[in-house]
Amino acid sequence: MAAALSIPLARWADRRIEVLADETAAAAIAALDGTTLLGERGSNGGYRVPGHVSAGIGGSRLMPTRDGGWFALTLIRKEDRELLPALFADAGLATDDDAAIAAAVLRNDCAGLVARGRSLGLPVASADEIPASAPVEVLARGPRRDRPADHVPLVVDLSAIWAGPLAGHLLWLAGADVVKVESPSRPDLIRRDDPATFDIINQGKASALVDLDCEAEREALVALIRRADFVIESSRPRALRHFGIDADALVRETLGLVWLTVTGHGARGEPAHWTGIGNDCGVAGGLSRALADAAGEIGYVGDAIADPLTGITAALEGWRAHARGEACRIGFAMSAIVASALDEERTFDPLLLEAELRAWAAAVGELFPAVPRRRLAAPVRDLGADTGRYLASLARC
């Protein structure tokens, strides 16, 4: 008998959530499960189990290459399509034509496309790559802070889309005071494009608007960070440095500050320049290859699966660092987190994992596993509604 449809790696998430619920003693986290966190966007959005095109808006595609590999390319910005002639060294490429893009992929070898795509800053992956970084890595350490037992941690959430905001959401469920900070030039577009998901993972967070292009506002943000317990961010490391925010220095100087850095493929060296988002990072983590090995047909597993796996990991590791009291900056590489979850699942119950992957491949085109829609337990604040409350000294540009 075929296994019922579930999202592979949901049981990995179940185990992490159980530990997080235990360590935070938060009933609201104990009430969650992996299927909900991995599948609520897909279930609420009526997503269907994907094949070679990712679930939902279908921004990521798996395409065969000349040397028999599979190349994942995510194209969700118009600006990224402008890079395709350079990716394929073909000035005449019809950049809006998916068939022409697939034909160009088939004329190239996989590793070359991945290398060039990453130089270009495109979110790309090979189904057969080995993640370049450790899944969880301490990047800097700082002084400890002893807190009273009733201390309510302050979280400055600078992250966007799904992984980072989910980590902030779990810390909020654990009782933290979370302020989501957005910049007018780089807002979290999920607020506009997928409000149902935005509301679930950003409910209860205060909202502050800070113009990072303005020095006075940036200084006010740094002052807020200096009194915070957590920072969550998911920008490429060079973007923060460009704005004059030195995460390592702030961690070295700020008692007990836990800084969570979410990246696609790593925060150090060459991989720090690569981009990666949920679906292509799932491919880079080996999940699509695992699907092909188990079921004979390659495809995307889950919905941007690297995002929720990473958000859960970041919340748990961040909470533990906070409990230790020592300041530290921890990097979370999405592709490597997928690979390590897959590894653990293969060790934990290889037969069940294989059955789940086969059931997933057999269900292409069917609706995502249904999970009950979570009811909001707190209001969703309007963009910038709480700027004054958190950044009282803010001098606008």
Binding site: T74, L83, P85, R116, A160, D188, L189, D193, H273
Partner: protein, 96 residues
Amino acid sequence: MKPGTRLKSAACDTEVMVIRAADGTIECGGAPMGEAKPDEAAPLSADFSAGTLMGKRYVDTDGKYELLCVKPGKGSLSVDGVALVVKDAKPLPASD
């Protein structure tokens, strides 16, 4: 110049990937760029020494040229003596 060509500065560490180009001369630090690094470095022109930033895309006003910086350096980019400017980055949309 073919899209995807990687060009090196003769005057500094800058390297770019060609996204789009016409027949003009692509320069960095005031000196023509090439696929190979010259044996002897060219002097860095004071007029083209504002520096390049990793990951930034540089364009001309006519939209004929676009270069992506894949390695930063001290020189700044130009085509036939006319400086290129940074193209603003766009945030990622909500979903993929």
